[in-house]
């Protein structure tokens, strides 16, 4: 059931592999060629994630651009001892997308929006390369090991940018329950994927 094989990231298979961490360290010293390579590797994840949260393509491009520039600007602050390059980059991307959602919805009725948006993850959005497929498949298998409530809580928060309060409302569950399911769901996902601090490679 549990498969702890490290997950391949795009580009990690091609050629004598330079890790994303190494690339990011080179970016931190002002290496624009390294940044270009890093962009090719990670932009599908960054853009795909932001677009999933924001939905609006034009807005998603704008935020993706902001995030990529931010990665260039703050690469000096990346600390490989504290986590993987992927986690660092996608954390920036996800938070930026969520913050955009929140600032836009600050003056609207979020309750109505919560009800209007969809819970389902659209798997057909996955881009079509072999290593991407393999990795996505492994994550999907691991997601299947979660309970329904764990999976729905995590999906609503991560893909839709909901707060746990909104998730609780959507799923008609108590706040402490949702908080706990998010944590134990992520722990189960972590154990299934074999990801730990320091990344998968």
């Amino acid at each position: 059931m549990t498969d702890s094989t490290p997950l391949p990231w795009p580009g990690s298979r091609s050629g004598p592999s330079v890790s994303d961490s190494d690339l990011l360290l080179r970016v931190a010293s002002g290496d624009t060629a390294a940044f270009s390579t890093l962009y090719d590797r990670i932009s599908p994840w960054v853009y795909g994630l932001i677009r999933r949260v924001l939905r609006n393509p034009a807005q998603s491009e704008e935020v993706t651009q902001e995030v990529m520039i931010d990665i260039w600007r703050t690469a000096t602050r990346f600390d490989a001892g504290r986590g993987s390059a992927q986690a660092w980059i996608l954390t920036i991307a996800h938070r930026r997308a969520v913050d955009r959602v929140r600032s836009e919805q600050a003056s609207t009725d979020r309750t109505a929006l919560v009800a209007a948006r969809t819970v389902e993850v659209e798997y057909d959005e996955v881009s079509d390369t072999v290593s991407t497929r393999l990795e996505a498949e492994q994550v999907r298998r691991c997601l299947d090991t979660l309970t329904d409530l764990q999976r729905e809580s995590i999906n609503l928060a991560y893909y839709n940018g909901y707060t746990y309060v909104e998730v609780a409302q959507q799923l008609d569950a108590k706040l402490p329950t949702i908080k706990a399911r998010m944590r134990d769901g992520l722990i189960r996902l972590r154990d299934c994927l074999g990801t730990t601090k320091g990344g998968t490679r």
Binding site: S43, E61, R183, T196
Partner: protein, 236 residues
Amino acid sequence: MTEPDVHTLAGPYALDALPDDERARFEAHLAACQFCTTEVAELREAAVKLATQVAAPPPPRLKADVLNAIESVRQLPPQVGGGALRQRYSRRSVFALAAAALVIAGAGGVAVDQYRDKQAVLQTNEQMAAVLSQPDAKTSHGKVDGGGQATVVMSARADAVVVVLRDLHRPPNGKVWQLWLMDASQRAVSIGLTSGDLTKVVQGNVVGNTTFGITAEPNGGSPGPTSAPVAAVEMT
């Protein structure tokens, strides 16, 4: 933030699912909770894998735009404090100078020793949150010789420093760890004594200090540092 469920917040936090105010409070808690910091890092590694389910290449022209844009974007300087060995030693030598000069100064500000009871913990967390929520709050980290980690958050606006010491080893026999703040002219001010881990908020007379340091001093403490520091963390 000391309720039993504080650790469960690592889940929603790793998913960016905490409302803004709770996020700020949890980040204040993270500064003092090594366990939570590690757990958040691990849960984030798992959470970001969800991005694989929705990957989509951006329009090709976006890359040209980004590469063009970074040409005119200056990169941040590397973060100091627990960074390169060379930097740490130069800070230490500055601190040693202060020890030699034996500049004597009284206790600065009101130091609040914590974790006596729940009320005190709550109060510290509120004070910490107040410091961390300042727009100018700056966090610095440094290693303690012989083991341990020092984290210092300073805000000139709040005129306050949060000091968090974790995994500190015991001081030599007959000695105690003394904590100092030092300004650019190497004037050292004692902010307290400890023999182990602690979380402390120092409020008042903080502005102008640039370095946090720890020295081993005879029991009861010294009016000024008398030995080479086991930790020196630049705060600005």
